[in-house]
C-alpha cells in the first residue's frame, strides 16, 4: 500500500479501535510479512536469540559439561572485583577504541573531503589506495614483517644501519610498543564503509548550496565545510560514526595475529581477548557470557552516546 491509501484508510476507519485497525492492516498486508519472514526468522535465530541467550547464561555457571546452576550476579561481581586481568583488558579496550574510533572517523571524513574536488578518474584511484587495506584480508600481517624483531625487519634494519639502536627492538614483545603499534595497524585497516559513505555523502550535496553560500558570504573552504558541507551530510555522518565505533571494538584478531595471545604483559589484552580466553579456551561459558554482555552494553552505549552527540551538530 502506498502512503496515500494507508492514510486514507486510517482516516476512514475512525470507528475502529487501534487494535482492530492494526489487525485489519496486518491482514491486508500479509504478503509483506511473508516477504520479511525468511530474513527476520534467521535474524532472530542468529542475532536476537544469541544476545538474549548470552544475558541468560551470564547469570549461571554453565561450562558446557555440567547442568548449569543459577548464580545470579556472581559472575559480574567476580568480573569487576576479582579479575585484575579484566580491568587491564577494560582499560586497554577503552584506550584502543577511544583512539582508533575517532581518529579513523575524522581521517575518513578529512580524506573524503580532500579528494572530493579532484577529477573523477583521479578520485577513484585515490579512493582505491585508501580503501584497499580494509578489504585485503590478512594483508596487515605485512606490519609484522616491517616491524619484525630481528635485524631483517625493515624498520630495525634502518635503525641499525643509521646507528640509532645497537640491538634490534623487539617491537611485538615489548610492552611499551605493542599497544601503539596495534593502534597504527588498526588505523591502517580502518578506512572502510564509513569512508565510502562520506565520499558518497559529499558527492550528493547539491552544488547550488555552495553558490548560495558564496553569495551569503562564505569566504573559505573551512567556513564552507562547517556551514554547508557537514550539515548537509549529517545522515552519512551518523551512519559512518556507527560503523567506525563498532569497528573500533573489533580489532581483536589483528592484535592476536601480530602480538600473539596473550600479548606480552597483557599490554594489548582487550575485552575481546578476555572473552576468547574464557569462552574459547577455558569453556567457562557462564563467566565469558558475562564478559560478552558487558562488552555488548559498552558497544551499544557508546554508539547511542555518539549518535545523540552527532544529532546536535548544526543545531
Amino acid at each position: 500500500m502506498s502512503e496515500k491509501t494507508a492514510t486514507k484508510k486510517a482516516v476512514a476507519r475512525k470507528d475502529m479501535t487501534k487494535a482492530q485497525w492494526t489487525w485489519k492492516e496486518m491482514k491486508n498486508n500479509r504478503v509483506a510479512y511473508l516477504m520479511i519472514a525468511p530474513f527476520m526468522f534467521l535474524f532472530t535465530i542468529f542475532t536476537v536469540v544469541p544476545v538474549v541467550l548470552s544475558i541468560l547464561i551470564s547469570f549461571t555457571d554453565f561450562n558446557l559439561l555440567e547442568v548449569p546452576n543459577i548464580v545470579f550476579i556472581d559472575n559480574y561481581i567476580r568480573l569487576f572485583l576479582d579479575d585484575d586481568i579484566f580491568l587491564i583488558a577494560a582499560k586497554n579496550t577503552f584506550v584502543f577504541a577511544a583512539i582508533v574510533g575517532p581518529t579513523s572517523y575524522f581521517m575518513s571524513l578529512l580524506i573524503a573531503w580532500f579528494i572530493n574536488e579532484l577529477a573523477p578518474k583521479i578520485r577513484s584511484i585515490v579512493t582505491l589506495i585508501f580503501y584497499a587495506p580494509s578489504i585485503s584480508g590478512q594483508v596487515y600481517l605485512i606490519w609484522g614483517t616491517l616491524f619484525s624483531g630481528d635485524s631483517y625487519g625493515w624498520i630495525n634494519g634502518q635503525l641499525l644501519e643509521f646507528g640509532i639502536v645497537s640491538t634490534p627492538i623487539q617491537f611485538f614483545e615489548d610492552a611499551d610498543w605493542v599497544m601503539p603499534l596495534c593502534i597504527v595497524v588498526a588505523l591502517w585497516t580502518s578506512l572502510g564503509t564509513s569512508f565510502l559513505a562520506f565520499i558518497a555523502g559529499l558527492q550528493g550535496i547539491d552544488r547550488s548550496l555552495y553558490e548560495a553560500g558564496a553569495v551569503d558570504g562564505v569566504r573559505n573552504r573551512w567556513q564552507e565545510l562547517w556551514y554547508i558541507t557537514l550539515p548537509s551530510m549529517k545522515p552519512q555522518l551518523m551512519f559512518g560514526a556507527i560503523m567506525a565505533i563498532t569497528q573500533s571494538f573489533g580489532f581483536g584478531s589483528v592484535v592476536t595475529a601480530l602480538c600473539g595471545f596473550p600479548s606480552v604483559d597483557y599490554a594489548a589484552h582487550t575485552i575481546m581477548h578476555h572473552l576468547e580466553d574464557y569462552g574459547g579456551m577455558r569453556f567457562e561459558v557462564g563467566y565469558s557470557s558475562a564478559i560478552a554482555v558487558v562488552l555488548f552494553f559498552i558497544m551499544i552505549g557508546s554508539n547511542m552516546l555518539v549518535k545523540k552527540f552527532i544529532s546536535k551538530v548544526g543545531q
Binding site: 500500500m1 502506498s2 502512503e3 492494526t22 498486508n29 504478503v31 509483506a32 510479512y33 516477504m35 520479511i36 525468511p38 530474513f39 527476520m40 534467521l42 542475532t47 536469540v49 544469541p50 544476545v51 548470552s54 579528494i115 579532484l118 579512493t127 587495506p133 578489504i135 585485503s136 590478512q138 594483508v139 600481517l141 605485512i142 625493515w154 634494519g157 634502518q158 591502517w188 564503509t193 559513505a197 565520499i199 558518497a200 558527492q203 550528493g204 552544488r207 555552495y210 553558490e211 558564496a214 569566504r219 573552504r221 564552507e224 551518523m238 565505533i245 573489533g250 575481546m272 572473552l275 569462552g279 561459558v285 565469558s288 560478552a292 554482555v293 558497544m299 551499544i300 549518535k307 544529532s311
Partner: protein, 290 residues
C-alpha cells in the same frame, strides 16, 4: 583545486594557496602511509630468497623473480587435502551465502521500504541496532545454537548466518526508499501484478547498484574468512585458512607467504575496482536520519 565548478557557471571561492598546499601535503603523507605497506607486500612477493634475508633490508626488489609464486603453487599441490578442495569450499560458501543474502535481504528490504505494514518500523530499528555491536559478543551463544542444530562442522554454520546480515538489509532498504518511486510500483499493482512480481520485475532492476554492493560486501566477508570456530574437518576448511597454514611454515616460506597474500588481496581489490561507482552510489543513500 582553486575553483569549484558548479552546473551553471564557475563560482570563485577563495581557495587559499596555503590551504591547497597543506591539504595536498597531508593527502600525500597519509597516502604514503596507506600505500607503502601494500606496495611492500607486492615487492616482497617478487624477491628471491637472498634479497628477502639480506642486511640491511632493502625496500625495493633488485632481481624480481616468479619463484615465490611457483613455490606457492608447488606447496599447494603437496597438501594432503587436495588444494582444489579448499578452493571449492571457499567458492561454494561465498556463492551460496551471497546468493541467499542477496535474495532474503532484498525481499525483506523491499517490504520494509515500500509496504506500510504494522511493525515494520520497530523491526527495521531492531536490525539497525544490531549494526551497533560486533558479532564477537554473540559468538559463544551462537556456538551453542549451532551445536543444538548439529550444524557444527558443516557448511551450514557458515552459510546460513551469512543470509541475514544487518548491513545488507540496511543498505538495501535505504537505497530502495530513495530510488524506487512509489508511483511506478502503484501502477504495476494496478495492472494486477502480485507483490512478488512487482518486487522482482519492477523494483529489483531499479536498485542494481545496491545489489551489486550487497554482493561485494557479502562476498568479501566470506572470501576473507579464515579459520572458523564452527569448522573442524580439514576437508571443509577455507582457501584462506589453507594459505595461512602455508605461510605459517616460517622463514623459508616468507616469499611464498607474500605471494599468497598478493593473490588473496587481488580478488577483493579487482572486484572493488570494477564495482566502485555502484558502491559509492549505494552509499549515497546510506545515511541515518534519526
Amino acid at each position: 583545486m582553486a575553483r569549484l565548478r558548479t552546473r551553471k557557471h564557475k563560482v570563485v571561492l577563495s581557495r587559499s594557496t596555503g590551504g591547497d598546499i597543506g591539504i595536498t601535503l597531508l593527502l600525500v603523507l597519509i597516502g604514503a602511509f596507506m600505500f607503502l605497506p601494500m606496495f611492500y607486500v607486492v615487492l616482497q612477493s617478487f624477491k628471491p630468497l637472498d634479497e628477502l634475508w639480506i642486511f640491511p633490508p632493502r625496500f625495493l626488489v633488485y632481481n624480481p623473480t616468479f619463484k615465490n609464486y611457483k613455490d606457492l603453487f608447488i606447496l599447494m599441490n603437496t597438501s594432503w587435502v587436495p588444494f582444489s578442495r579448499y578452493v571449492f569450499n571457499t567458492v561454494f560458501v561465498s556463492v551460496v551465502g551471497t546468493t541467499g543474502n542477496l535474495f532474503l535481504s532484498s525481499l525483506a528490504a523491499y517490504a520494509m521500504a515500500k509496504i506500510k505494514f504494522p511493525g515494520r518500523s520497530w523491526m527495521f530499528k531492531l536490525v539497525r541496532t544490531s549494526l551497533m555491536f560486533h558479532a564477537t559478543v554473540t559468538a559463544i551463544a551462537s556456538f551453542i545454537i549451532m551445536s543444538a542444530f548439529h550444524w557444527v562442522d558443516t557448511y551450514w554454520a557458515i552459510v546460513i548466518p551469512a543470509f541475514c546480515t544487518s548491513l545488507g538489509l540496511y543498505l538495501m532498504k535505504q537505497f530502495m526508499e530513495s530510488n524506487v518511486s512509489d508511483a511506478v510500483l502503484e501502477s504495476a499493482r494496478l495492472d494486477g501484478a502480485s507483490e512478488f512480481k512487482t518486487f522482482w520485475v519492477i523494483a529489483m532492476p531499479m536498485v542494481k547498484p545496491a545489489w551489486l554492493t550487497l554482493i561485494i560486501y557479502s562476498f568479501q566477508g566470506l572470501w576473507n574468512s579464515g579459520s572458523s570456530i564452527y569448522i573442524q574437518s580439514e576437508q571443509l576448511k577455507s582457501f584462506n585458512y589453507a594459505i595461512q597454514q602455508i605461510v605459517a611454515g616460517g622463514i623459508k616460506r616468507a616469499g611464498a607467504g607474500a605471494a599468497s597474500t598478493v593473490i588473496m588481496m587481488l580478488v577483493p581489490i579487482t572486484v572493488f575496482i570494477i564495482m566502485q561507482s555502484n558502491i559509492i552510489e549505494t552509499m549515497g543513500s546510506s545515511g541515518m536520519k534519526d
